[in-house]
């Protein structure tokens, strides 16, 4: 396949960015999108130019490092995938492809297509855990968890922290990200003790870091590579309501 790429280039956090156009030839439809970018970079290095910087690591859809806005869609034109799982067979020979970084106030661009998502770490540091010290846990079967509850917790816990939900939301809201953690821990008996405090602290931190409000458009759920459901936001709202009723 021969393609035209319009790629966002930006030297550093402070620099003004711009789109650069590149022509690329002979791409196998079985290549992944990131392998196509590898080929582009190989070409740029040969020509003595700086390669395009993009975040990626596991390249199997689980670490959550990669995230590109491709032709106006977070993680590109396929369902339930991360950018590294997108394959070139989803494009046609001769296509022009626009590649941008996540665009959200909470995720400043570091260089080219790479953004800073440390805000997510900070939200979790505010309370996205169960406060149990190593060695103090009771036997794993000491408290029973209904299979449905365990499954529900797993559905929520599947979040990989990629930030597609924020990037795709017109308000740049991090509600789906926050809700997935609040929900995972709130449905499990071991997480209930701190549920109220947790929800309150995480939402406060999210607001402080400049993420927008949720207006229930549901765009986040559509682009979430792990299918984390909007229902978790509803649970978060319930937990948050409870948090605000209790002093």
């Amino acid at each position: 396949m021969d393609l035209t790429l319009k790629v966002w280039r930006q030297e550093n956090r402070k620099a003004k960015g711009r789109f650069e156009t590149y022509a690329i030839k002979n791409i196998s439809p079985d290549s992944s999108f990131l392998e196509m970018l590898d080929v582009l970079n190989e070409q740029l290095i040969r020509e003595g130019q700086e390669p395009v910087v993009f975040d990626h690591d596991c390249r199997e859809g689980i670490c959550g490092t990669c995230g590109l806005f491709i032709n106006g869609r977070a993680h590109g034109p396929d369902e339930d995938i991360t950018t590294c799982q997108l394959h070139m067979r989803k494009f046609k020979d001769g296509d022009t492809i626009v590649v941008e970084p996540w665009r959200a106030g909470g995720f400043p661009v570091i260089k080219d297509l790479m953004v800073d998502r440390t805000a997510f770490d900070k939200i979790l540091q505010a309370g996205g855990f169960i406060s149990i010290n190593t060695g103090s846990a009771p036997d794993g079967n000491a408290s029973l968890v209904a299979k449905e509850k365990a499954d529900e917790a797993m559905d929520a816990a599947a979040c990989i922290g990629c930030g597609a939900c924020v990037a795709t939301c017109k308000n740049s809201s991090a509600m789906l990200f926050v809700a997935s953690k609040v929900s995972q821990l709130a449905v499990l008996p071991q997480g209930k003790t701190e549920a109220v405090r947790r929800a309150k602290a995480m939402v406060a931190k999210m607001d402080e870091l400049g993420f927008g409000n949720c207006t229930n458009t549901g765009a986040c759920e559509v682009e979430c590579p792990k299918n984390v459901s909007l229902a978790h936001i509803a649970r978060l709202n319930r937990e948050f309501l409870a948090a605000n009723l209790k002093p």
């Binding site: 196998s28 690591d57 855990f129 169960i130 149990i132 190593t134 816990a157 071991q190």
Partner: protein, 646 residues
């Protein structure tokens, strides 16, 4: 050098409790006087940093990724072993210990492995306590499945994302300590040098990947939790950034490197598609619980399938060779990884392979018929989806194609029972050390070892060392000659790389190294092949130092520079792997020397001459590494030839 593993005396089952009750501890008021550096935030690193923080130590934790949650432990799919015996199927600490020693082909230390099995149960409790959503039965109790190399079901799992969920649990504990101020986190920061002061590990030099700044950090102890070196092969199931540099820097500063040739080649990965391939994707071993592995019985059928003239679904049962079930009736499709990988290679070498010729089938038709599609979907849904996205075929309808790929490195820094390397004050945990898996690791044991080391072993054993360091004041690394010297060395290496200005990209040279490693230091090794491999590795190294091109500047984000620094180390490491493989004139576990096999093609171990850990000492760039042998004395178990047939 005298390799003292410091194994406590006494009966096997009492060694760890004896050690714990007699070791030196650091009192709570003194703990906050100690700085501990932990490099890496995978299962071992994150669990160690969090646990040390909880105890009151001052921890600095480093990762090259943008967040500690990205470490490659996250990609582990299938599960984590523990000797809970919740299934009442006869499991015990001893059995888990025995299976692990046997699975490792009798090349691991008894005492370490027993301790691993012993603490396994506490890991499950800890993870449940953190909110890890393990699979449950309808009664609400924890569910288990079986894995290769075991006759019991002892594997706990969270769908196909067990590593992710365990890592997020450890990351939660780490976040809690970061918020509490006990752990300071440095992300997008890579360790480029180890600093030794008067023979003791006292810190590291890091590069801030965003600004390019080189920074010195002091620690009373340094813990490396930096994973394995599988990316020496370029193509592997590792993350793109996974590298062996931290361990290699330690080796060059005097830490011994043990069993570098012991590499695990995982039997169930998605086959290579073409020359632009950047990495290989694993399909969890858990699939072998229900999937059946086969190739056509007839060469003609294999050829027709490869040429697209015949569909695998059209080939009748009596024309299929379920070769694992045929060769190993007792364990069938659940033989250990090394055995399954070699058997696949054997069939493909004999031209029975499908796809590109380098692939075999993993077929779920029988399981779907027996259990229904819904059950299979529940068990493996995410893996099937992952496969379909990559290969563009639906594994519910046509068998998956799989082939072995580099997956894990059993070798690593030599450590004693306390997980301390041969450099005082330098510890290595998780995949970065060599200690528990011998010549082959069993499935679902990497997660167990990472968390055992980080939660339940290192936080105790490091205190026995720190107790000797009371009164050692914190050093000011910005004004210390050894730290300054180390920064200059790192700067010199970076300048050298930047100044080459050749014509070739780092990746193109890394691929050259990968080809040599896979062809000569891969699944089937020979004396001639290894010698040729060493010669070729040297050629690639020479080309690298002459021809590599790193565009851009060193004082800012420079991915090519990061990769070049790592590749420089892989090139040296690859040669040591080949040398170790050449010296070990036997076949054991993942190390298969074609000259040493039985008539049936099974690994032929030589316990008379090679029942030892091979630990290599750096002697200088132009000199041969020196070999030390730590004999493996099996006091409590009888050594046998591994048999998965009966």
């Amino acid at each position: 050098m005298n390799l003292n593993a410091k194994i406590p005396s006494g009966p096997l089952a009492e060694k760890w409790s004896t050690y714990k009750s007699t070791q030196n501890l650091v009192n709570p008021a003194n703990k906050r006087k100690f700085d501990i550096i932990v490099v890496g935030t995978g299962l071992a690193g994150a669990s160690a940093a969090a646990s040390l923080g909880e105890l009151g130590f001052k921890v600095k934790n480093f990762c090259y990724q943008d967040s500690p949650r990205r470490a490659h432990s996250i990609a582990a799919q299938g599960g984590i072993n523990a000797a809970k015996n919740y299934q009442n199927d006869g499991d015990s600490v001893y059995r888990l210990f025995y299976d692990t020693i046997k699975g490792g082909d009798y090349r691991a230390r008894e005492a370490n492995v027993y301790r691993l099995a012993e603490v396994s149960n506490k890991i499950i409790d800890q993870c449940v306590g953190q909110g890890v959503p393990f699979a449950r039965d309808y009664a609400g109790t924890l569910h288990n499945r079986s894995f290769g190399g075991a006759l019991v079901s002892r594997t706990f799992y969270a769908r196909g994302q067990t590593g992710q969920q365990l890592l997020l649990g450890a990351y939660g504990a780490l976040n809690r300590q970061i918020a509490a101020g006990n752990v300071k986190m440095y992300h997008r920061t890579e360790m480029l040098e180890l600093v030794i002061v008067d023979g003791i590990a006292r810190g590291i030099i890091t590069r801030n990947l965003e600004t390019g700044a080189l920074e010195p950090h002091f620690g009373h102890a340094v813990v490396l939790a930096t994973g394995g070196y599988g990316n020496t092969y370029f193509l592997s199931t590792m993350a793109m950034g996974s590298n062996g540099s931290a361990a290699w820097k330690a080796y060059k500063k005097g830490a011994l490197f043990a069993n570098p040739a012991f590499v695990q080649i995982h039997p169930t990965c998605i086959p290579v598609h073409g020359e632009f391939q950047s990495k290989l994707t694993l399909m969890s071993e858990s699939l072998r619980n229900d999937g059946r592995i086969w190739v056509p019985k007839e060469l003609d059928d294999a050829k027709n399938i490869r040429e697209g003239k015949l569909k695998p679904t059209d080939l009748p049962e009596d024309k299929r060779d379920y070769y694992l079930e045929r060769r190993y009736p007792a364990f069938g499709n659940l033989v250990p990884r090394d055995v399954a990988s070699r058997a696949a290679k054997e069939r493909c070498d004999a031209r029975y392979g499908v796809g590109t010729g380098q692939a075999v089938y993993l077929d779920f038709k029988e399981a779907i018929g027996r259990l229904g599609k819904k059950v299979i979907e529940e068990r493996y849904g995410n893996l099937f989806q992952m496969y379909e996205k990559i290969v563009d075929e639906n594994p519910y309808e046509t068998p998956m194609m799989i082939y072995p790929a580099i997956h894990y490195t059993m070798g690593g820094l030599w450590v004693d029972y306390e997980l301390q390397t041969t450099i005082p004050g330098l510890f290595a945990i998780g995949e970065a050390n060599f200690s528990d898996h011998g010549a082959n690791r069993l499935g679902a044991s990497a997660l167990m070892q990472g968390l055992a080391d980080g939660y339940f072993v290192l936080p105790f054993t490091i205190q026995n060392y720190l107790a000797t360091q009371l009164g050692v004041a914190r050093m000011d690394p910005a004004n210390h000659p050894e730290f300054s010297k180390a920064i200059e060395e790192v700067q010199g290496r970076i300048n050298k790389l930047m100044s080459i200005k050749g014509k070739r990209s780092v990746d193109s040279l890394h691929k050259d190294l990968g080809h040599v490693m896979w062809n000569h230091v891969g699944m089937g090794r020979t004396k001639e092949g290894l010698e040729e491999g060493i010669r070729m590795i040297r050629e690639v190294r020479e080309a690298f130092w002459k021809e590599v091109r790193i565009p851009g500047k060193a004082d800012g984000f420079n991915v090519e520079l990061e990769k070049a620094c790592r590749l420089a180390d892989f090139l040296d490491l690859g040669e040591l792997m080949a040398k170790d493989a050449l010296h070990r004139e036997e076949s054991c576990g993942g190390h298969f020397r074609e000259e040493y096999q039985t008539e049936e093609g099974e690994a032929l171990r030589d316990d008379v001459n090679f029942k030892y850990v091979a630990a290599w000492e750096y002697q200088g760039d132009q000199k041969e590494a020196k070999l030390y042998k730590e004999p493996l004395d099996y006091e409590f178990i009888e050594i046998k030839t591994r048999n998965y047939k009966e």
